[in-house]
């Protein structure tokens, strides 16, 4: 059970950033109405951020990540279960690693 001081302060920073978002919209609406342009921008931020962290993450794993990701997508579309979607992708990656590398 360790608590590194650097980890602690980064975590506090992350928590404050999160709370700022949870309370910020409510607070801002008490001051000024939101413009449609800002609203469109904010609405497209999360998807783009997740894309920007997913794609380099898959590239880092290598080409074996591709069949795994496709199986995850297919399972999610077919069964709609996050856990099975992730587990099936992991199984494909573990199997291809064991047999092909």
């Amino acid at each position: 059970m360790t608590l590194d001081s650097e980890v602690f302060w980064v975590t506090v920073g992350m928590a404050l950033a999160t709370y700022a978002m949870r309370a910020g919209g409510f607070a801002a609406m008490g001051l000024v109405p939101m413009s449609p342009g800002i609203e469109r921008w904010l609405a497209s931020v999360p998807g783009c951020v997740i894309v920007a962290l997913t794609v380099p993450g898959l590239v880092e794993i290598g080409w074996l990540a591709l069949p795994a990701a496709l199986v995850t997508l297919g399972t999610m579309r077919a069964l709609g279960n996050e856990f099975l979607a992730l587990a099936s992708g992991m199984a494909v990656l573990a199997a291809t690693r064991a047999f092909l590398v």
Partner: protein, 230 residues
């Protein structure tokens, strides 16, 4: 206008409405705990993070750039960007929570996540004005999220060869699942491609984990000026 009610009966109603969401919350928590163990966080550190943030997607995003020495600003700004959708949800709470005592509104908003927001807004649209519904729904998810992330870490610490089990796939794999739900329509294609290309380019050319922000910013600006996503 008088403030909306805030009763323990409402808290119970909200808690009961969340039961269907508990299994996926547990699965997500277990996944985060495993990934946090992979990233080198201790049980205490990862549980503290889950308890203070209660924001799984942004926690996974942070793990993806969790390298020594920890890049403080890239991590904090990435978390803020991933959670910026809660800024919009929070804005929609104004007409409902604006008439509550201020401390009560701001404390309760600390538990805002996708699921309790969506369910509480639906209940309100059906005529249940009790602010306790939002609180109760959030509390149930909070308890299961924090507990299951601790359990996931404990399990992860017992696994001898994580790469052979493809545990390094948890974060990007979960993100693939999340993206399927975030896809709003064809209008998202160009912003997402811009985000992906920028992120890969910056990741290879620029040191220091700025690629998530660069990709997110470039893609979302294209999205803001582009056509309607649907």
């Amino acid at each position: 206008m008088s403030p909306p009610p805030f009763t323990s009966a409402g808290v119970l109603r909200g808690a009961r409405l969340m039961i269907g969401f508990v299994p996926s919350s547990i699965a997500f928590g277990l996944g985060f705990g495993l990934a946090a163990d992979q990233a080198g966080l201790s049980l205490l550190e990862s549980t503290l993070m889950s308890a203070l943030l209660f924001a799984g997607t942004s926690q996974l995003a942070a793990l993806q750039i969790w390298t020594a020495p920890l890049p403080f600003w890239p991590i904090v700004i990435t978390v803020m960007a991933v959670n910026s959708r809660q800024f919009l949800m929070s804005a929609t709470m104004r007409p409902w929570f604006g008439r509550l005592p201020r401390w009560r509104a701001y404390l309760t908003l600390g538990l805002l996540v996708d699921a309790n927001w969506a369910v509480a807004m639906r209940e309100r649209a059906r005529g249940d004005q009790d602010a306790g519904v939002f609180l109760g729904a959030g509390l149930v998810l909070y308890v299961f999220w924090t507990a299951s992330s601790a359990l996931g870490h404990a399990v992860g610490a017992m696994i001898p060869d994580p790469r052979a089990l493809a545990l390094d796939y948890i974060v990007p794999g979960f993100c693939v699942v999340l993206l399927l739900g975030m896809w709003r329509g064809k209008g998202d294609l160009v912003p997402w491609l811009v985000a992906a290309a920028t992120a890969v380019l910056v990741a290879t050319l620029v040191p220091g984990n700025w690629h998530v922000l660069a990709g997110g910013l470039a893609g979302s600006l294209v999205g803001a000026f582009g056509r309607d996503p649907r």
